[in-house]
């Protein structure tokens, strides 16, 4: 392209954005690809910013590399790690990396830029050799402890003759994912004294773990056996979250899992805070990450983002506590804006931009790293979705066009639930439309209160809005959201 053409394009782009600022919705956030060195297989397992502003990234082939955003250059920090799936910066020369066999403290002691110490923090958990026994973390709780997560083994593969950790045949119930060695399907607490203790059970693939700023713990899991659809759990110590295989490592457990009735398992579990409807919203949710209040990333400060591997999407979760339990709604945050699939790890940079590392691991996914910048302004979106005794309140980021917003026919609710059973996934059960009985708009035109014909706990309420604009004519960016009603207020 000739220089004159480039300039013409630039001028036109500037011109368009001057005239139609409010209609160009994607301008609120822009996505760019991060340059990668040749020869790298850029499948990202872990990502964290070092205190000196460099991004530490762990890749599939076992290397940890540092990216300097100022100079756009990469340097090697460590190599030879086994499927590293988590990085946590300690200081400019040290980091913790979760690899398959252990949590490792990497340290560059001689200042040459590359780690020379690979010391084990903990390897006090089993490995059967089953490929699906991925290990995640470490996620700091802010009090000096860390959470680590351990996948269940896949029924698509067996265990090795030689395992690390005691083999328990009870952990292999014959169908679905299993737990042949400790503590597969668990979240573990690594104490300040480096002691690894069981924390919570019932996970299938706890790849995404995050603490909220207030100390609450959230973990994503994947559709599969005992999981009708993908989930976000609010995790509390000593609770069980539904996938049964891990139970064999509970203290005192001696039962054959095949002999326990499903109703008993059902009564033992804590349900998901938020369900991500399969084939619609998410098939493979990964990292949860809270938007810090301290950075300007648009109107969603304090809310939770969840990356997603199978769709070109990051989800936004609107949480609230109802009757002492956490629940809420999910909605998309970044659809069709240049974001690719494979979204696995996320980290906010010192400048407030959001970095997204991709992976595939031979599943659906992608490679590379993308960076999302917030360009200012207020996108037109649902800011909050709150459950009420008879329906929902929707709060918008901008004042509404009242004519559209007050039209009941513009809103369509469907409700359904997912079965809890040993089978893989679940169809949407008892799916029914729910009529809107009454609608009111707040005086400031930012809130729509919807009263429904029926509200039942235990259902996902799937809301689609046909067409909604702001008072100034900006179209609603995301028009479908899903509220998981565990409890009614």
């Amino acid at each position: 392209m000739k220089l004159s053409h480039i300039l013409l394009c630039l001028c036109l782009i500037t011109l368009l954005s001057c005239q139609k600022e409010e209609e160009r919705l994607d301008d609120f956030y822009t996505v760019e690809d991060i340059p990668l060195p040749e020869g790298l297989l850029p499948e990202v397992g872990g990502m964290d910013f070092m205190p000196d502003g460099k991004l530490a990234v762990a890749f599939h082939r076992g290397e940890v590399m540092l990216y300097d955003p100022d100079s756009a250059t990469w340097q090697l920090f460590a190599r030879g790690l086994h499927d590293p799936l988590g990085v946590l910066a300690v200081n400019a020369q040290e980091m913790l990396v979760m690899q398959r066999p252990e949590l490792t403290h990497l340290k560059d002691t001689d200042g040459d830029g590359e780690a020379d110490e690979y010391m084990t923090v903990t390897d006090d958990f089993g490995m059967s050799g089953n490929y699906h026994e991925f290990a995640y973390g470490p996620i700091p709780d802010g009090k000096g402890n860390y959470i680590l997560g351990f996948n269940a083994a896949s029924n698509n593969a067996g265990v090795w003759d030689e395992t690390r950790g005691a083999y328990n045949p009870l952990g292999n119930p014959g169908q679905g994912m299993y737990s042949p060695v400790p503590y597969r399907g668990w979240l573990m607490l690594l104490t300040k004294e480096d002691k690894l203790e069981p924390f919570a059970s019932g996970f299938r693939s706890p790849d995404g773990i995050a603490f909220a700023p207030n100390g609450e713990l959230f973990v994503t899991d994947n559709q599969g056996d005992w999981l009708g659809t993908s989930t976000l759990y609010h995790v509390e110590q000593n609770r069980h979250y539904g996938h049964i295989a891990s139970l064999v490592w509970r203290k005192g457990w001696e039962q054959d899992l095949n002999t326990v009735p499903v109703a008993t398992f059902d009564s033992m579990r804590t349900k998901a805070a938020v369900l991500f409807p399969h084939n619609i919203m998410a098939d493979s949710p990964t990292q949860p990450l809270f938007i810090p209040d301290s950075i300007d990333f648009g109107p969603f400060g304090g809310q939770l983002l969840v990356s997603e591997m199978d769709y070109p999407r990051i989800m936004r979760v609107m949480l609230e506590e109802v009757q002492g339990e956490m629940q809420g709604a999910c909605i998309s945050f970044m659809d069709s804006t240049g974001l690719t699939v494979g979204n696995h790890r996320m980290a906010f940079g010192p400048d407030g931009s959001l970095w997204v590392g991709k992976t595939a691991y031979a599943w659906v996914g992608d490679q590379g790293i993308q960076r999302i910048r917030y360009n200012g302004g207020t996108p037109m979106d649902v800011l909050h979705m709150n459950v009420t005794p008879k329906g929902f309140d929707l709060t918008f980021t901008r004042p509404l066009n009242v004519e559209q917003a007050s039209d009941k026919n513009n809103y369509h609710f469907n409700r359904y639930y997912y079965a809890y059973h040993a089978e893989y996934g679940s169809p949407r059960m008892d799916e029914q439309p729910v009529e809107i009985r009454h609608l009111t708009i707040s005086d400031d035109r930012t809130k729509v209160s919807l009263e429904l014909e029926e509200m039942v706990a235990g259902y996902v309420y799937d809301l689609q809005i046909d067409s909604l604009k702001s008072q100034k004519g900006v179209a609603l960016k995301n028009r479908r959201m899903f509220y998981t009603v565990n409890r009614l207020p």
Binding site: G80, E102, W160
Partner: protein, 358 residues
Amino acid sequence: MRIHQLPLILFLLLLGGVLALSSFIFQQAPEKAVREIVIKAISGLQYDTVRFQVSPGETIKITLVNTDEMAHNMVITAPDRREEIVDLALAMGAAGQDQHFVPKSDWVLAYAPVLKPEESYSFTFTAPQQEDVYPYVCTYPGHGSVMYGAIYVTNQKMPPLAQDEKTAQGRQHPYPDTYPKVYRTFLPDTGPASMAIGMTDSLSYCWDAGACRFRYLWKGGFVDMQKAWGGKGKERAEIVGEVFYREQSEAPFRIGSKDHQPVPSFMGYRMQDGLPTFTYRLDKVEVSERITPTLEKPGNKRLMQFKDLKEPIWFVRPTDQRVDVYVNKGKWEGNYLRLSPEEAKAFTITITEKKPEI
């Protein structure tokens, strides 16, 4: 909206001005400066640049920098003539030195002469009009089969590097992948928490961080990671070469009594000159183990250090008949070598391949 009109008019005026100016600049612009490509010869018989792209007819400046400890040159050849040029260079024998191992051939398009370590050399190269892939190769004897890259003379996109057969095979990382190296991965005939250590390009061993012990030693290559990295992690890495020693005992070191098998606990490793020194606990005793290759015969030497011992230790005699075992301290009692706490502070175990019987 009225408020926007004035800036808009100003903007349009400015736009017109910029466009007029830019087309003027474009027409008057002098020839672009010649692009420079810097290629380093690095250790492990490699160029740091495995390939690059130029437009047909484009003239570039190529600078070869030799950062290696060996001499290297660089010859650009006609498409698909790399191997023939390498063979011709080899055929020049010792006399080739004076001609920088660059054979007289129409297939040699340009070259940098043999450079000693730390030397560099620049030359210009005008890409042919004919779109194709033009190899560059080090024709110094013995280097040409692995040390080469590819110039893509085209305006089209290059193929993905992972499937690019025109570049030197085996590049799996964005940094020079030289020996020694450590890969933690799933390996055959060991525990799941093991690692492969390539001490040299032809001598490697497996160390098990679960059981905290040496597992086996092989010669002839390292590991093939293609399947292990290609899928979900299901496949084990393949050993390249021939295993010539396996340590059979599940607990090669006994503490306190020769029947007592201590409980292992892995503490990690420190890298020194590219090789790890492992530290672990056997019961409560801290052990360090540094493994280096032997020089004359295929094998390795382990420097063992047992810290703060209060009682003797025993080393179980390896039963693999394919090797010679030598320990520089202690006393054999049948199949057990007894080492006093003082002796166990630092001793070496040397394991080398036996000479094949005639």
